[in-house]
């Protein structure tokens, strides 16, 4: 239809979303970048331009590097583990078995629970000596750990919680994808003599590839966004062993009140997310769409 009408209607309809997105996404991004070049205004010291000082400070900041390495380890473990488990769960739930509904519910339930609430339960699970996890470890002779209180295990403990929380969520996407696969395709493969493993490798897995990539992007974003359990369980400790990037931003901004340095850290996080976005639009969207 006619172009000016489209423009009028289109822009009117887009207006509310545009205003909101500008105010709470784009403008803050720009402001964050801008503020990262100034000192934090304190009641008695107005802010002054300091160029890239915050960024050099960042490079010298051991906590930042620790947060970054923690976050990379956190992502590198939680993402494949939760995706793999999610796929296994989806395959389980997609096959006919008794109690299928209950099993699906069990998998999915952690997803709907608030992370902070869940953290309280896990705090007990991880409690030294009487917590169930430690008792289980005790059974195999590895007992008496202060899992959350020891730097070498604290991050792993959070990783386990994250996997537990996220796998069920990703399962839904996989389940949807699996159900989208026409059963005749599986039948055709069976007729051709493919074993269950071959069917998975050569038919199912390629067909759910788009889902895998979609889930991957979500998981990547999540790995840099979810810090509720850090706040609730460890506050980044002990000795920063569980400090993740966003938690460090929160801590710097709202505990130390160094908002400008927090802005510089945020800019770094935004750059990471931009990389993910580039990866998605540049690579994933050009991936072969089979249907």
């Amino acid at each position: 239809m006619n172009k000016s009408r489209n423009f009028l209607y289109g822009s009117l309809l887009l207006l509310p979303a545009a205003v909101l997105l500008w105010t709470f996404t784009y403008q803050p991004v720009l402001a964050t970048i801008y503020n990262s070049f100034f000192t934090t205004p304190k009641g008695r010291r107005p802010s002054v331009f300091i160029g890239a000082d915050h960024y050099t400070r960042m490079i010298e900041d051991p906590v930042f590097w620790q947060a970054l390495t923690n976050n990379i380890l956190y992502a590198a473990v939680t993402i494949p583990a939760s995706m793999g488990l999610a796929l296994a769960m989806a395959l389980f739930v997609n096959s006919r078995m008794s109690g299928q509904g209950l099993v699906r519910m069990a998998y999915f339930t952690p997803t709907v629970l608030p992370m902070v609430a869940v953290a309280n339960i896990w705090l007990f699970f991880y409690a030294p000596s009487y917590g169930p996890v430690d008792q289980l470890l005790g059974l195999i002779g590895l007992g008496h750990n202060n899992l959350l209180g020891t730097p070498s295990t604290a991050l792993w403990s959070l990783i386990v919680i994250t996997i537990w929380k996220e796998a069920g969520f990703f399962m839904i996407f996989y389940l949807a994808a699996l159900q989208q696969i026409s059963p005749t395709l599986i039948e055709a493969a069976r007729l051709e003599g493919a074993s269950p493993w071959q069917i998975f490798r050569r038919v199912t897995a390629p067909l759910i590839m788009p889902t895998t990539l979609f889930v991957l992007v979500n998981a990547l974003i999540g790995a840099f966004r979810l810090v509720d359990h850090v706040i609730a369980l460890t506050k980044g400790g002990p000795d920063n062993s569980t400090t993740l990037l966003l938690f460090y931003i929160y801590e710097t901004g709202f505990q130390y009140w160094d908002t400008s340095y927090a802005a510089a850290l945020t800019v770094f996080l935004l750059a990471v997310l931009a990389l993910i976005a580039l990866f998605q639009f540049g690579y994933l969207d050009r991936k072969v769409h089979y249907r």
Partner: protein, 273 residues
């Protein structure tokens, strides 16, 4: 749900699935167990400790959880209602009124899929303070009222609605608003349900941003309330903390258990994948 031709799972698969399910549900089972037993039972895990509702009544007496629920409910309703409207309008514009540059606008919108408001919490906090909306439910919801995810999802769904339906409505004399309300919206119902569920559970569970913007009991949502409750100066009392935890997850959990079938199905029908 399962198509008939899916092979029946073997015994090992079934056992594996059940074991995993048990592990996955055990934290919740434990919480139930601890919340209904006296405080001393919890940490020593005495299976035969007597049942009690004491913990719940103590929690309710100790903290204004009903108020927190109300706050969460108001917050979630506000966000959901606004998101539905704002995202529907935007998606409709992208699908039915494309103009020069709307493609680029859409790409811009997609950026917000990556940059959730909580990442920008320092700046957003400043904005909110300038608006004088700190420590208000509106302020807590405001950064989320336009959801890129919603726009993306609705656009996708609207695009998948056969063009002929829109054309048929146009031929029958329906105007743009009628077409939206009488054709697009009802047809996208599964997507709306799925999106609604995602939004509700996201904001019911959201913590960091509300933690930053709320100060008072009058605005604090359940998650923050629970965190404040569990932040100990005098020592953790597992029984009461699990009781409080259960209280705060209960509404969502009950809703989920009741509607899990629809939840999962609408998720799939909405083609979120």
């Amino acid at each position: 749900m399962t198509s008939v031709s899916t092979p029946k799972a073997g015994i090992i698969t079934t056992l594996g699935a059940w074991l995993l399910a048990f592990i996955w549900i055990s934290p919740l089972l434990f919480a139930f167990w601890a919340a209904f037993h006296p405080a001393t039972g919890a940490s020593s895990f005495d299976l035969f400790a007597p049942l009690t509702l004491e913990n719940f009544s103590q929690v309710l007496a100790a903290a204004p959880f009903p108020r927190y629920f109300l706050n969460t409910f108001l917050l979630v309703s506000l966000i959901l209602a606004c998101q539905l409207v704002v995202c529907t309008l935007a998606a409709y514009a992208f699908v039915c009124f494309p103009f020069r540059g709307s493609g680029i606008l859409f790409m811009l919108v997609l950026i917000q899929l990556m940059i959730m408001p909580e990442i920008l919490l320092v700046e957003n906090y400043r904005t909110l303070a300038n608006l004088g909306l700190r420590d208000t439910i509106l302020g807590m919801g405001l950064p989320y009222l336009a959801s890129a995810f919603g726009i993306f999802l609705f656009r996708q769904t609207f695009k998948s609605i056969p063009k002929e339906l829109e054309e048929a409505a146009r031929l029958e004399g329906a105007n743009a608003f009628q077409i939206l309300m009488r054709v697009f919206v009802p047809l996208a119902k599964p997507t709306y349900i799925a999106f609604g569920l995602v939004t509700v559970s996201y904001h019911w569970n959201n913590f960091l941003w509300p933690l930053v913007v709320t100060n008072s009991v009058e605005t604090r949502p359940t998650t923050v309330g629970l965190q404040v409750f569990a932040t100990v100066e005098q020592g953790v009392d597992w029984a009461r903390v699990t009781a409080a935890t259960l209280l705060s997850v209960a509404p969502l959990l009950v809703a989920f258990i009741l509607f899990q079938r629809q939840f999962v199905q609408s998720f799939m029908r909405a083609g979120i994948r």
